[in-house]
């Protein structure tokens, strides 16, 4: 199929960017979206032009590295998949595809379609962990009985790959789905309860410092999340934060 691509090109973080038009022929439905961009880049390189920079790593939908706002939606029009798992069969011959970086003040563009998502790492570093002794006396986690429902919910929250689609989809560029998933994956488990008060306060404080927007419960993040992280995590974080603050 033949596609008309409108791609955001930006030399570096300090330069202004713009949309550049490309026409790409010979795209097959079985290609992934990133393979389609690989072919475009091969063409650009063969013509002596600068290839389009974009983030990717595992190409298996598990690392959270690929991003891209495709036709106005993070990770494109398909549901529960990352950009690397989006197939070109979801598009038609002659389609125009607008490809942009994830937009948020807290995710500054580094080059072309690559954004700096280290804000997520700083939120995680602020409290997204449990302090355990790893000196050789570590107790096997399975020795602590955990309610099946809680274990399942914690696992569901832990499937967040930190790709940033929630921020990209939210009209307010809010990071509450990501932060709440990272709060929930520990809050539900006995090992996580020990530091629960400090964790939610520190992670929310860091989220605010990074300049993300406020959650207005539109639910766009949940719809666009490639891992199906639920809004119930945001409610849990709201509850945890209120409880932590009232406890002092």
């Amino acid at each position: 199929m033949k596609l008309y691509l409108k791609i955001w090109r930006q030399k570096d973080a300090s330069s202004p960017g713009k949309i550049v038009d490309y026409t790409l022929d010979g795209v097959e439905g079985d290609m992934s979206f990133l393979e389609m961009l690989d072919i475009l880049n091969e063409e650009l390189v063969s013509k002596g032009e600068e290839p389009v920079e974009f983030d990717h790593d595992c190409r298996e939908g598990i690392c959270g590295t690929c991003s891209l706002q495709i036709n106005g939606e993070p990770h494109g029009p398909d549901r529960l998949v990352t950009t690397c798992q989006l197939h070109m069969r979801k598009f038609n011959d002659g389609d125009t595809i607008v490809i942009e970086p994830f937009r948020a003040t807290a995710f500054p563009v580094i080059k072309d379609l690559i954004v700096d998502r280290s804000a997520f790492e700083r939120i995680q570093q602020a409290g997204g962990y449990i302090s355990v002794n790893t000196s050789g006396n570590t107790v096997d986690a399975n020795s602590i009985p955990i309610n099946k429902h809680d274990a399942d919910e914690a696992m569901d929250a832990a499937t967040c790959i930190g790709c940033g689609a929630c921020v990209a989809a939210c009209k307010n560029a809010s990071a509450m789905l990501f932060t709440s998933a990272k709060v929930s994956q520990f809050a539900l488990l006995p090992q996580g309860k020990v530091e629960a008060v400090e964790r939610v306060q520190n992670m929310v404080r860091q989220m605010d410092l990074e300049g993300f927007g406020n959650c207005t419960n539109t639910g766009a993040c949940e719809v666009e999340c490639p891992k199906g992280i639920s809004l119930t995590n945001i409610a849990r974080m709201n509850r945890e934060y209120l409880s932590a603050t009232l406890k002092g």
């Binding site: 009209k171 307010n172 300049g211 406020n214 207005t216 639910g219």
Partner: protein, 222 residues
């Protein structure tokens, strides 16, 4: 506690709690207003009580005004912060693909309601204050029904009220239903609550609109 005041979650709690407070006020308001259709005498009695009872006038009314101001000022603060959080807009943003229109446009439905409140305050509250405190007119427990029906005589005012009630319904549809989520509640009861909130968002504005239209089409014949 200072961290709570500065945090984004605190602003979320404030919006939800002030919104829930205003919902309770709406229940009281629509109940008394419906009396103007079904029992003018009761409407006069209730209005007179609300207009002259010191508890209502000097405690509840200021609290209500503070509630309204807090809700819309916080709404503006959040909107400004949210715009800053995406300093460069998307060339193409398909908001309709993942979120309902009402949830994405609360600021606009809110602005219409705010403009309506200005008209509503001018129509009734300013009139009341002028009657009681500027003109120092004597108490008249039978004037309220007549004054209310008279207000809806002009077609333009009736239409403005009805349109505003439509926007109020849209605002409530998202705001009321998501208030418990903001307060951290998301359990087996919240599904039922959301259904109730959406019924409320339809029924209450419809009742307000019905009252306005009823008085417009049933004027007092002199």
């Amino acid at each position: 506690m200072s961290g709570l005041i500065k945090s984004s979650l605190a602003r979320k709690y404030v919006m939800a709690l002030s919104g829930l407070f205003l919902v309770i006020f709406l229940i009281l308001h629509v109940t008394i207003n419906l009396a103007s259709v079904f029992s003018p005498d009761f409407f006069n009695e209730a209005s007179h009580f609300m207009g002259y009872n010191p508890l209502v006038q000097f405690i509840m009314q200021p609290i209500l005004i503070v509630g309204v101001i807090v809700h819309f000022v916080m709404g503006f603060v959040l909107e400004i912060q949210n715009k800053k959080a995406r300093s460069i807009s998307y060339v193409k943003y398909k908001g309709s693909a993942n979120a309902p229109w009402v949830s994405r446009n609360m600021i606009y439905s809110g602005l219409v309601i705010l403009a309506f409140l200005a008209l509503h305050f001018y129509d009734f509250w300013v009139h009341e204050i002028t009657y009681k405190y500027v003109e120092a007119s004597p108490e008249n427990p039978t004037r309220y029904y007549f004054e209310t029906v008279e207000k809806f005589a002009p077609f333009w005012r009736t239409i403005l009220y009805v349109v505003s009630f439509g926007l109020l319904g849209l605002h409530l549809w998202h705001g009321f239903a998501s208030s418990l989520q903001s307060m951290g509640a998301n359990n087996k009861y919240t599904v039922g609550f959301k259904k109730f909130a959406k019924i409320f968002a339809v029924v209450v504005p419809l009742a307000f609109a019905f009252i306005a239209l009823y008085h417009h089409f049933n004027p007092i014949i002199h």
